[in-house]
């Protein structure tokens, strides 16, 4: 796997873990303001981030497969 994509996957994994930890640590804040924040930003941000992580993994696999076919 290419080092940049491997780094990107690691960074994105950490970023999502940090975001998840922050959300869990902030569970005490559970009023309407928080629900709105979750609904409008944190949940979509997390979902998009997870989709990006999957896209990075898929691309890394596909590109590694393509590189293995190269004849130099």
């Amino acid at each position: 796997m290419m080092s940049g994509l491997r780094d990107a996957i690691a960074v994105q994994q950490r970023a999502l873990s940090d975001l998840k930890r922050s959300r869990e640590a902030s569970a005490a804040w559970s009023d309407e303001q928080r629900h709105r924040l979750d609904r409008q930003t944190l949940e979509p941000l997390t979902s998009d981030g997870q989709r990006l992580l999957e896209a990075l993994r898929t691309a890394a696999r596909e590109i590694a497969a393509a590189q293995s076919k190269l004849s130099r």
């Binding site: 940049g4 005490a28 896209a55």
Partner: protein
């Protein structure tokens, strides 16, 4: 709201603010790293395809001389036939390699295009949501600060 509740929420606001800011920075770093890698890989595939194309052209040229000589040959032509046969084997191999490289490049191009699209979507979404989350957090922090100062 009691003092404990307000302090818990202040702590929560700080946690979320930290998480969102950290996420925004990390996402930017991840996208930059991925983009640099894609650019490097694209150059690698282009170089491999260009090189195999040059090898095909060279192999084509190496068949021309024995083919022309064989066309003129009237007797004792076996060495030329062998030379041409060997050149054609090398030519076929060069063409197979070039075709494999082209297919590999096409596979890379598809994977890269899909990833670039996903990266664009993630970037656009984050550009909208991170500032929006910050604004929510700031608004809430101001409400809490007001509670702490005035109790209202």
């Amino acid at each position: 709201m009691s003092g404990d509740v307000i302090h818990a929420r202040v702590s929560a606001v700080k946690e979320i603010a930290h998480g969102v800011a950290s996420y925004g920075r990390s996402l930017t770093a991840a996208l930059a790293s991925a983009r640099a890698d894609l650019n490097g890989a694209a150059a690698e595939f282009q170089a491999a395809v260009a090189d195999s194309q040059r090898r095909v052209a060279a192999a084509d040229r190496r068949t021309e001389a024995p083919a022309a000589a064989l066309a003129r040959c009237r007797e004792g032509c076996e060495p030329l036939q062998r030379q041409l046969a060997e050149a054609k084997v090398a030519q076929d191999e060069a063409r197979r390699r070039h075709e494999r490289n082209r297919q590999a490049q096409a596979q890379f191009d598809r994977a890269a295009a899909e990833l670039i699209s996903s990266m664009g979507t993630a970037r656009t979404a984050a550009e909208g949501m991170v500032p929006s989350a910050r604004q929510h957090i700031q608004d809430y922090a101001e409400i809490l600060t007001s509670y702490l100062k005035t109790g209202v």
